[in-house]
Structures are given as C-alpha cells and as structure tokens.
C-alpha cells in the first residue's frame, strides 16, 4: 500500500509518500507561502535531485493538486497515476478527549475536530483544510487522522487535572492534554526494541527537545504524565516559549504594561525562552556557540534550559518511583552533545553513568550513551513522526476494508 502523509499548517503543507511494503519513503516535500502569489513547492524524490517550483497557490486544495501533479509528473514523479495512493494520513495537533487513538476520517470525526477548534485555534483549522483538500483531490481514498494528543490520553486524572475549580474542566475541558504524543510513543517503543526488553516492564522518560519541547513519563508503554499542558506553552523552557511560570505573573504584567490577551500570549509564546534570556537567538546551536565564546547571557540561557529539563526528569522519576531508560530525541535532543552531557552529569544520584565517547558520536541510528555499569540506560533515538502516521494509516485502513 502507498500512503501519503500530510502535515498541514495555516500557510504551509508538508508531505511524505511511503511504500508500506517496506516502509520506504518514495518522496517528500513542502509547500510554503500558501495564499500568496509566489508559493514555493520543494519536492524531494528519494535518490534524485530536488525540484523547486514557484507559482500562485492560494489555498490548500490547489496545494494538494500541485503535490499530486508533481508526484505523478513524468520527469520528477514517483507514481504512474494518482490512483496508486491508497490512503492518506493527516497529522492533527489536538484530538481533545474524544480521540484516544488515530481515527478514520468520516463525518462524525470531522465534526469532532471542528468542535476542538477552540482548544487549538492555530492548528486544527489548518489540519481540517488539509483533510478537505485531500478529499477534493482524491475522492474515495480513505483518510486517517493521527493526533499529537492521543498518546497522552492514558494519563490518570491526578496528572491531567489542574487544581482549579472543577467547573472549568466540566464547562471548557480545561485540563492537561500534552503534545508530541506521536514522537513520545515512537521513541519509547524504539527504545524498548533497541534494548530488547519488554516495554511493559519499563519505566521510560522520553525527552522530546527541539524548538518546542516536552518530557513524558512512559510506564509500561503508556503515558502517565507529560510536561506540556492544555496548550504547548507549559513545561520546559523552549526556543521562544517560557514554559512553566507563576500564573500570577500574567495578570500582573498585563496590568503593569497594559497588555491585551493576544499581546501577553505572543510575549509568552514568541518572545520568551532561550531568545528572551540570551537576547541572541532561539536556536540551541547559536546558544551553545555563544556559551563557548564566553557570552554570559547565552550561558545563563543554556543553564536555565538544562536545569528545567533535569528537574522534569527528576520529578518523573519520582512520579514512577524510578526510571530504567531516559531517551533524548528531536532536534536538540538528537544533536546537542553538551546538553545531554550536562543533564547526565547531575543524574548520578539515579545511577546514571555517562560514557562521554559514546555521547560524542553523531549518527542517525538509535544508540546508548551510558556505560555498561550505568543503572539507567540513556539513549538517543531519532524520532520519526511521519512513519508513525503512515503506519497508523496503513493499519486502520487495512482493518476498515
């Protein structure tokens, strides 16, 4: 079966085409600047040269039309005809409480996604546009939605409720949902597989640290707690997001600086985190360079970032009464040797013993970075959210036939 994976943003659309017989990627690409007269389509057929096209793409239906055109193009395409695409998988950021796992797209599931627009006003409408556009271009082809929140639906009440009046949960579903579920799910399974140990027996802490970041406590293969909350603002310090802070700061600052709701939201989501403290950049690579050059603000930004991450690891070890495996993944987790080192150096109380030589290795494969004596296995596992979406889509469509 050939599966097209789509990740639609409000003005962009990423795609990957999988052949599920061997889980190989036939092509991937990206449409940027949708809605403008000079939209850019970058197409990367596996093993061949990238192709870039600039044209007017005013909405998502045209964007998917263009993607299909290039996938079936005589010169740059990888398919003989559009009919070869037998299923489409969509990434949907927010599945609320309704979706505990991936689901087939039908009228009922679409109506539910629309109900969730309120909780993810930036992301879910874009995913809906992607779904509608795929339906318009490939009528009759089964589609599946894969949610960032679904993996965390196993969290117990004590972990997902906030200690505020319960009427807010009843009326508006204010609770912790978490994010990056597809990634936490994938890397926890891959870690167990790498260690050749049964997932059911393991206490795993997965650290998905990229531009956004979250930590999850995975016990017996299910998420029992995660650092992101109702929105992706809670938890770790991130590139431009504050993560945890005293909630009383929000009304205080709004009052002092006469900020509106959207201004304070923008401040916490786009002007905080590494960017705010370093004053230089939201990118961990530049922060690390700044730190190596002796820049005091970069050093402070790095220390705060590492400290918050380490506190979360400690609290999730406490939550599970122990930890067997710690996994680093995503942009920063997979690539920052120094961040992993600094975190592990202060986890000796858990029995972590870092192997500096192993930690320094760069590779695209899952790998261990602790010594043979270490009581806790610390792994680096490159994440692959698209593959999870393709696998779920493949499985659900096969079952529905």
């Amino acid at each position: 079966m050939k599966v097209l994976v789509i990740n639609a943003g409000s003005s962009s659309l990423k795609y990957q085409l999988y052949n599920m017989t061997d889980e190989s990627v036939l092509a991937k690409g990206l449409v940027e600047r949708i809605g403008m007269d000079s939209s850019i389509l970058t197409h990367k057929p596996t093993g061949r040269e990238d192709v870039t096209e600039v044209s007017e793409i005013l909405e998502h239906t045209t964007a998917i039309r263009k993607v299909i055109d290039i996938l079936t193009d005589k010169e740059n395409g990888v398919l003989g005809s559009v009919d070869e695409i037998q299923a489409v998988g969509h990434r949907v950021v927010h599945g609320g409480e309704a979706f505990k796992e991936s689901a087939l797209v039908d009228d009922a599931s679409k109506a539910e996604i629309r109900r969730l627009f309120d909780l993810a006003p930036l992301h879910n409408p874009a995913a809906m546009m992607g779904i509608r556009a795929a339906e318009a271009n490939m009528p009759g082809v089964p589609q599946v939605m894969v949610f960032d929140t679904a993996f965390h639906q196993t969290m117990p009440e004590k972990a997902y409720l906030y200690a505020i009046p319960r009427v807010l949960y009843k009326k508006y579903k204010v609770r912790r949902y978490g994010a990056h579920g597809t990634s936490h799910d994938y890397v926890s399974k891959a870690a167990a597989e790498y260690l050749d140990r049964p997932l059911e027996d393991l206490k795993i802490i997965t650290c998905h640290v990229g531009n956004g970041g979250s930590v999850t406590a995975v016990q017996g293969g299910v998420s029992v707690d995660t650092s992101m909350g109702m929105t992706p603002l809670e938890g770790l310090m991130m590139g431009t997001r504050s993560g945890d802070l005293d909630p009383a700061i929000v009304p205080y600052v709004m009052n002092k600086e006469e900020l509106s709701v959207s201004e304070v939201n923008s401040m916490l989501n786009k002007h905080s985190g590494l960017l705010a403290i370093s004053g230089i950049s939201s990118d961990m690579r530049e922060i690390t360079e700044g730190m190596e050059a002796g820049d005091a603000n970069s050093t402070l930004a790095f220390e705060m970032y590492e400290y918050r991450l380490r506190k979360y690891i400690g609290s999730y070890a406490a939550a599970m009464n122990g930890v067997d495996v710690i996994v680093f993944t995503a942009g920063v987790g997979e690539n920052s040797v120094v961040l992993r080192q600094k975190v592990c150096e202060q986890l000796t109380y858990l029995g972590v013993e870092l192997d500096e030589a192993l930690n320094a290795i760069r590779s695209g494969e899952p790998r261990r970075i602790t010594t043979a004596n270490s009581k806790v296995d610390v792994l680096v596992v490159p994440t692959n959210e698209e593959l999870v979406i393709a696998r779920d889509t493949h499985r659900i469509v096969l079952n529905s036939l």
Binding site: L58, T240, S260, E263, S266, M267, K270, H271
Partner: protein, 290 residues
C-alpha cells in the same frame, strides 16, 4: 467573493491603521496617497507603529517584516483596478470623498465593493457620485484599529443586500472583528452616543459640579471605562469632537447636540488634546498622560 488584495485610499491615522491591520491578517494592501512624501510618511508611521508593537511583544521581527512586505505604496487611484475591495479613509470632506468615489467607480469592476470609513457623512450622498451605488457601503473602524475589534457597517439607501452580506463576511471572517449593522443616520451609533456623553461631561465640568479629574475617575472606575469621557475627548481630538457635535446639531436640530462652550474655547485656544500635548489633561509625545 474572494478577498485577497485590498485598496486603501488615504494614508492618515485611519488609513495607516486599517492597512496595517489588514496586512497583519495576511491580505495584500495597496495604499494610495497623492504625493510620494505623504506615501512615505504613511508607510514610515506604520513601521513606527509596528516597532511599538514589537516592543510590547505583540509581534516578532519576522512578523513585522511580513506585514510591511504586504503593503504596497501606490500613487494613483487608477492602479486599484485589480483590488477585491477598496476602503476610502481620506479626511471628512464630502466633495473630496465624492471625487474619490466617482473615480473608483470607473476604475473598479462593478461587483467590487467600495467602502468609506466616514464617521459622520451620508453614504447615500457619497454613493450618488457613482454609477453603481448598490456597491457603496460604510465601514467605520475605530482607532486604534489593531486593538478595537468593532466595525460599524453602514447601509446607504441603495446599498444592496449582497454588498452588505459580503462586507459583513469580510469584517467578521477576514478582519476577524465584530460587525454591527447600522442604517444611515448622523453619527451612526458609536459617535452619536459617545459625543453626547462627552458633551454632558463638559456641562458637568462647566457647572462646577466636579473637577475634570474626578469626572473621569467617576466614570472610569464606576463604570469600568478604559478612559473617562474627558480623556476620551482629548484622544479623539477636541476639534473632531466639536465638528461631530456641530454636524449632529445641524442634522437633528436638537439642543442636546450643541457643543458646550468650554469645548469651543479649548479648540479656539489650540488645545486639541493628545495631538497638541494638551487638552483637559497633559500628554507626552507618545500620548501617555503626564
């Protein structure tokens, strides 16, 4: 109707605010002024305003760049022929506005909505200068446009249902603001009610019932106003308040609209409010109360 490219005629305070707000919503804006100097000034003011928003963390540097890149400076109305809608924001001069509408009527295809941001003038009269009056409508934004989420949509005598429905859709779905429907009448709803409140506050001041400070505190704290009526007048510009009251006084003929003498005196003395640094209160160059 698909709204992607919007013409904005006039680069004054409202023209700047509307252009900036539309560009921030992802629309392409063609901003028209008579001279290059005026165009450059308007564009620079938008940039300054975006810098202020950047300081307040409302936008990022990348967003500022993107917003500015969507605003194109245009010197002639004739270049607005490809716009999906045109909004006129020049000063409140009926004859000048009529001239703009009659030109736009020739330049834009007959299904393109021509809107005016007038706060007091008659839409029916503006529309009379065009061949297709059914596409003329009022869209009254309130300053500061990016922070006030209300638009008064004013129907002239001949405005068609389609024009109204599409304008409302534009306001609510594209500009993401609340649209209220108003039939043509001097001062519409917002200006008529707020000017009366200001005028009454001036009578209270004149009668020595309370000081300017106490009048504003009473209304600000007592009724949860962001600014009291006298500071509001300072922010609108005392000359604008006087002109609006005079116009309503003439149209309705009722004494309650007659501008208070203290207002007239202030205007004659050149104390126009925030823009001159002094009205009923004093202000710094950023418009903050001293």
């Amino acid at each position: 109707m698909f709204f992607k490219k919007i013409g904005v005629v006039g680069g004054g305070t409202m023209g700047q605010g509307i252009s900036q707000m539309l560009a921030a919503k992802g629309l392409d804006v063609l901003l028209v002024e008579h001279t290059t100097e005026k165009l450059d000034h308007a564009y620079n003011m938008i940039e300054t305003n975006l810098d202020k928003q950047l300081e307040k963390w409302a936008i990022t540097k990348a967003e500022k760049k993107l917003i500015l890149s969507r605003i194109t400076k245009v010197a002639h109305l004739a270049e607005l022929g490809t716009c999906d809608m045109v909004i006129e924001t020049i000063s409140e001069d009926l004859e000048a506005k009529k001239a703009v509408f009659s030109q736009l009527d020739q330049v834009c295809p007959s299904n393109v909505i021509l809107a005016s941001n007038t706060s007091t003038l008659s839409l029916t009269e503006l529309a009379s200068s065009t061949k297709y009056p059914e596409r003329v409508i009022g869209m009254h934004f309130i300053h500061p446009v990016s922070r006030v989420d209300l638009v008064e949509i004013i129907r002239g005598l001949k405005t068609s249902d389609t024009t109204f429905a599409e304008t409302r859709r534009f306001v609510e779905e594209v500009a993401d603001k609340k649209g209220v429907m108003i039939y043509e009448s001097p001062g519409f709803v917002t200006s008529r009610l707020i000017c009366l409140l200001i005028n009454e506050a001036l009578h209270v001041l004149q009668e020595g019932v309370a000081s300017a400070e106490d009048i504003d505190d009473a209304m600000r704290i007592g009724y949860n106003f962001q600014h009291g009526p006298l500071e509001m007048a300072d922010r609108f510009g005392l000359d604008s308040v006087e002109a609006a009251l005079e116009r309503m006084f003439r149209e309705f003929g009722e004494l309650k609209y007659r501008p208070s003498t203290v207002l007239k005196k202030m205007v004659r003395a050149g104390h126009l409010g925030v823009k001159t640094g002094e009205g009923f209160f004093k202000y710094d160059k950023d418009g903050d109360r001293l």
